[in-house]
Symmetry: C2
Subunit: 736 residues, 2 copies
């Protein structure tokens, strides 16, 4: 905990806050009044059956809440037979939690009464805040300000409420249709309406929850605090989230890593982040008034935090079923046992598509299978026990493949054929699964005939699926999660750099009111952070270019120097392979003329004479500081790979060694860096180091708004990388 | 029909047969005895309840078959109270269809009796054929031979049987658990076990079938004949197929295009092709003993035939539900009506991911919506009618967006909130949908609470889904299909070419026992087919290279000429930009030395002197003749795009104009051809023409086994393409 808490402090320095960040040392204690209140005041409890205030009150009562609930209603004496109070201040006993279902206009004053009463937590269900415009947003801001000032956690506004199914609490403070079954899955949603659907789906699919939280507008309590709370929650094994934006991206990464990524206390986190596409993001901003960032950044955040990103609700619960068994494969080698060849092929296809490999069964396994299976059965993987198989054959096959050391997980497929004793087979799988340390998933293909078997699988806690595709996808997710947990633990390196010289560069540029650094300054900053840069000189006249070429030594390149021209080549602003000072002078003159002609509006500050780079593999390193996400690093191959194929990867700085490694390995064109057609592999170690240095630069120099190293020339293994061209843009001073 | 039949003859010349092709003019009449028999002999009808021969007989009886069934059993007098015959020959009346459920050893002799009896069709359910080894394969071959000789259609062996739910037939000649409901979907499966699962799934999901066919080993009747039959079947609106391989790929393309692609009689075809991945294909070949081809080729075949390829069974039926309503969108502009923002965003994400665009609602539509919806509702797309919406608000919103000319289809999302009158809303959607020409899909999110509404949607024939992802995916499929139907109709061009000179080149090479054509021969073939090639000369000595350079004119390139060296650059076998005859002679000598040193085992036949190509965009055109698929064309960009990014596309020759267009547009790197960073667009028209010429070459010259044009240099619009390097390999004479 100690290390973690200190990193919380660290991250507060790194990222600006979009939402007011709660200044708490321990989310667990802080949120307890929300989830485990001893007493509740429901302000706005209503006698009118169609009212939300009625539904919430009824849910608390019918959910067998273990504490005391006090309905508050200014005009009624009782609701559902329970005595009412005119105001929360009239309640004679202490109140832990205030639940507000009041018109938004009166929410602030009601909340002020709650503060006066000394409540320790609040859930504001009422709508009419940020989502309806400026006036609502002002009210919401005031609620959050008051809550934070008085150290009261506040969930909402504009939410469905919260549910805790724990036996000693049994709180359904929501207006969902009814209390969900108890289970070990927690669900956090930024959409209240989705909650009602998820509750109904869970009811039909026999899925239970530990906690169920509708976050609403996230005025104060956000997914970060909830995640930290659920991370410590003993009743929760898997955390599911539906998100439309993130309040504290960098902090979420740290919290999620800690919760999901440590073998000592594994707790997988699965999330839907909607608003993936540009059109989707538009809908998001009209919906919650929140700013949705670019999708690639969320992918990076989830990857860095070890959060499994999923696309749909059924995928989310397909995975949750598999994860809640808490049995994870050693690696991705899967065995399939099936009574039908076709579905076996489909499952194989799907497994491979989801990153698994088909286990090669050992000779001993095949020999053992041969003893138990008919001669026409397939003894290789998928193991086909043939259509007339009954539970004895399934039992033999399943036990045998489970014993094989090459098998990490098993998918059992059943098609309901004439001879199939479906329920006996389900029982057999259940019995074996309960004793196995390897995950076993079942796919009983169909709906009606297999329903008896499915019920038995549920009793035995065996995750089951209707078709091979969804089962394989869930197994793939298990394996990805297992790989994440087993990842090598690396550190964030700290390089010795010359911060002082960088600061003086920034200072002089800012003093002169310049946002773009000059080529010399840019190379100065990069050099101070340990990047190798090519010798170069900025020249204001052609004659000077000749001298510079002489000093630097042929061959040289000429580049136009203009803060207004980004794609120099498009305006004739690049000349390569110049072999003599005379030629340098001549071409500098010609180039200046050409660029002035082609780009008359651009300010031209001179010509850069630079040592020609030896040919290598061009890559691009980038940094962009985002108000919401903080410093984002980018990596990709040069040229069309970035521009056309969009083959780039992002991470939020700072990154660890493994992060740099993963960035380089995750682009599609990575094999090019390993060397194609007889080329030697690029200096990957040095590339990783460059990314780590860039990460340090990003964190230590908040003055930089954008930085492009394009290209960085990567040479073969052991020969390093050289910055050929780069560009640094300083930010407004308020973006840090 | 006339045109189609003649193309059937044409295609028989193009493709070798993997299976014996049925010589029939009219599949419809040919297969009628299978699907509409007036009388059936069930040979192997059994009194033993666990026997397949019992299950099939019972299914025929309980399915209310409208004809007469004669059980045949050599030892029993009756089965289920029906009089038995010792042999089919003992049946006093004519028999249309023989269904065989007999040991595989006796299948051939039993079938010979059937022939003697004069049956007009056969379904062989028995297993024990190709799938169990050589002996079984021989039996299967003999069955097929006899069937084809006597012009009797034979389905199977090793299958579940066939089902026809038509009211005047009601035939369930299968051993599935029970008769499916009647419907307008036909299902054809290469996996019998999958059939049992699909029947169970359909029972649970209230899906009905017109025909249901388990093809088994496809000894004689294959998916091609079945597709042609179902294409003409008046009871079938949508055809679903599960395939593990294809018997007649080229013929299937033609048949599928005709069935699915003509507006006059639309019949969508949806297919799962399993064995997609390498591991999957391994399972396929151990399962059916059939050869599965590379996955990209199947993608090409399905694209060319207008067959929608899907990955999983639930996707297949999700689509079938939407397609069976037979209402297709004009284009991909979708409107979403929802009572919840979050699910609206999820749907938007999914729609965009599946190729749809969010419709821009007109001002009139927004004004009209404003009249009916509360002030907090979203009037833009997705239209959010807010959580407390009841059917009146849904009705107003749905009617309004349907009237908007910018809307081609509508997705209605419902989350079961406290106020939601689910069943009334379902009825409202049903009523509106029944009068609409635009497709309307419903997504009632949940299971239990929404079940009453779902039942009503089913009564109204509104396709419904549990979550936005699957609904959006189905809508995307509808739009893709609609676009396919509306595709421009183009022709297969016929270029004037010099076939005679090509034939004489082949003849002389084959006479000399050479399979690789020389550079001159290769350019000769391509030149005869209208490709522009660079001037070149093959030289046997360095001095000759100097002369050739003089004749051709500087600058020239030198390339090593060796049938054994494919990647010339790797052994120093390429020298570029040679400016004088003297230099050509010198470099030719040096190159010969270098190549001999680096590749001592290669036969070196000389040096090719060739005019240097001007810089353009390098692309690759390829042709590979496959025993199963026939001539496959390939297209991609040069260099790493093909080798690393695998960014290539395939088609089976011949292709039409549109096919060439689609090949070029379907690679990911296509934008590069349109010009990046100020480059002019490539000569796309000429590139298309090159592909069409290659297609003609592929069809007219079966001697060519493989051909690579790598690179073809494409210049800017209007400036054409030039073959820089190419390679032609002739095939064994039996591959045609």
């Amino acid at each position: 905990m100690e290390g973690r808490r200190s990193s919380v402090v660290g991250r507060q320095k790194e990222t600006g806050f979009f939402y007011p960040r709660l200044t708490t040392d321990d989310s667990r204690l802080f949120l307890d009044p929300i989830f485990k209140p001893k007493s509740i005041a429901l302000i706005g409890a209503s006698r009118r059956e169609s009212a939300v205030g009625h539904a919430v009150f009824k849910n608390v009562l019918l959910g067998s809440y273990q504490g005391i609930i006090y309905p508050v209603n200014s005009s009624a004496d009782s609701v559902l037979g329970v005595r009412c109070y005119k105001s929360i201040l009239d309640i004679p006993d202490p109140v832990d939690l205030a639940v507000l279902v009041v018109p938004s206009e009166s929410a602030v004053s009601v909340f002020q009464e709650c503060i006066k009463k000394g409540v320790r937590g609040a859930v504001v269900i009422s709508a009419g805040f940020k989502e309806v415009g400026a006036e609502g947003a002002a009210r919401e801001k005031e609620l959050a300000r008051l809550a934070t000032k008085h150290r009261i956690p506040l969930v909402g506004p504009n939410c469905l409420g919260v549910i805790n199914t724990a036996a000693n609490v049994k709180l359904n403070a929501s207006f969902g249709r009814d209390m969900p079954a108890s289970g070990r899955i927690a669900f956090v949603s930024q959409s209240g309406a989705l909650c009602t659907s998820v509750l109904d789906y869970a009811k039909g699919a026999n899925i239970g929850f530990s906690k169920f939280i509708s976050m609403g507008n996230k005025a104060q309590v956000t997914e970060l605090e909830l995640l930290e709370y659920l991370g410590e929650d003993k009743e929760t094994d898997v955390i599911l989230m539906y998100l439309e934006d993130l309040a504290h991206p960098r902090a979420l990464i740290d919290a999620a890593r800690h919760i999901s990524g440590e073998e000592a206390h594994l707790k997988p986190i699965l999330a839907i982040k909607s608003g993936r596409t540009a059109a989707g993001a538009r809908a998001a901003s009209s919906h919650t008034g929140s700013l949705a960032g670019s999708d690639e950044v969320y992918t990076a955040i989830f990857a860095q935090g070890g959060i499994l990103r999923v696309d749909s609700v059924d995928e989310l619960f397909d995975y949750a079923k598999a994860f809640s068994v808490r049995r994870f494969p050693k690696s991705g080698r899967i065995a399939i046992v099936t009574n039908a060849g076709g579905p076996g092929i489909m499952a194989t296809d799907a497994c491979v598509r989801h990153g698994l490999t088909m286990a090669e069964l050992s000779d001993a396994t095949r020999a053992e299978l041969k003893k138990h299976l008919p001669s026409t059965a397939s003894l290789s993987n998928p193991v086909d026990v043939i259509g007339d198989a009954q539970h004895d054959r399934y039992q033999a096959a399943l036990k045998t493949v489970l014993r094989d050391q090459h098998v990490d997980s098993v998918l059992v497929i059943l098609t309901p054929q004439a001879m199939t004793d479906i329920e006996e087979i389900a029982r057999t799988i259940g019995t074996i699964s309960s004793k196995s340390s390897k995950p076993i998933l079942a796919c009983f293909m169909g709906i009606v005939d297999v329903s008896g078997g499915v019920k038995i699988l549920e009793q035995w806690n065996v995750p089951h699926y209707r078709f091979p595709e969804s089962a394989s996808r869930a197994l793939g997710a298990l394996a990805r999660y297992a790989a994440w947990v087993k990842r090598p633990r690396t550190v964030k390196k700290e390089f010795f750099v010359n911060r002082k010289s960088v600061q003086s560069i920034f200072k002089s540029a800012l003093t002169e009111g310049r946002k773009y650094l000059s080529p010399e300054e840019t190379f100065g900053v990069l050099g101070a952070y340990g990047f190798t840069t090519l010798p170069m000189e900025v020249c204001s006249a052609p004659a000077q270019a000749g001298e510079a070429a002489k000093k630097i030594g042929a061959p040289v390149a000429l580049k136009i120097y203009s803060p207004d021209i980004i794609h120099k080549i498009d305006v004739g602003g690049i000349r390569l392979n110049i072999c003599s000072p005379g030629q340098a002078q001549k071409e500098a003159r010609e180039m200046l003329e050409e660029v002035r002609r082609k780009s008359p509006a651009s300010r031209i500050l001179g010509v850069v004479v630079q040592k020609m780079a030896k040919k290598g593999q061009e890559v691009i390193l980038g940094l962009k500081r985002d108000a919401q996400f903080g410093p984002m690093l980018m990596f990709g191959l040069g040229g069309t790979y970035v521009e056309i194929m969009k083959d780039v990867t992002f991470r939020i700085a700072p990154i660890r060694e493994l992060g740099a490694h993963n960035m380089i390995h995750s682009i599609r064109s990575y094999p090019i860096l390993e060397g194609v057609r007889g080329q030697r592999p690029a200096d990957l170690a040095k590339l990783e180091e460059c990314l780590e240095r860039l990460s340090q630069l990003a964190v230590e120099c908040p003055e930089i708004a954008e930085l492009d190293i394009n290209p960085l020339m990567a040479y073969e293994k052991g020969k390093g990388c050289v910055v050929v061209d780069a560009r640094i843009l300083l930010g407004d001073q308020n973006i840090r």
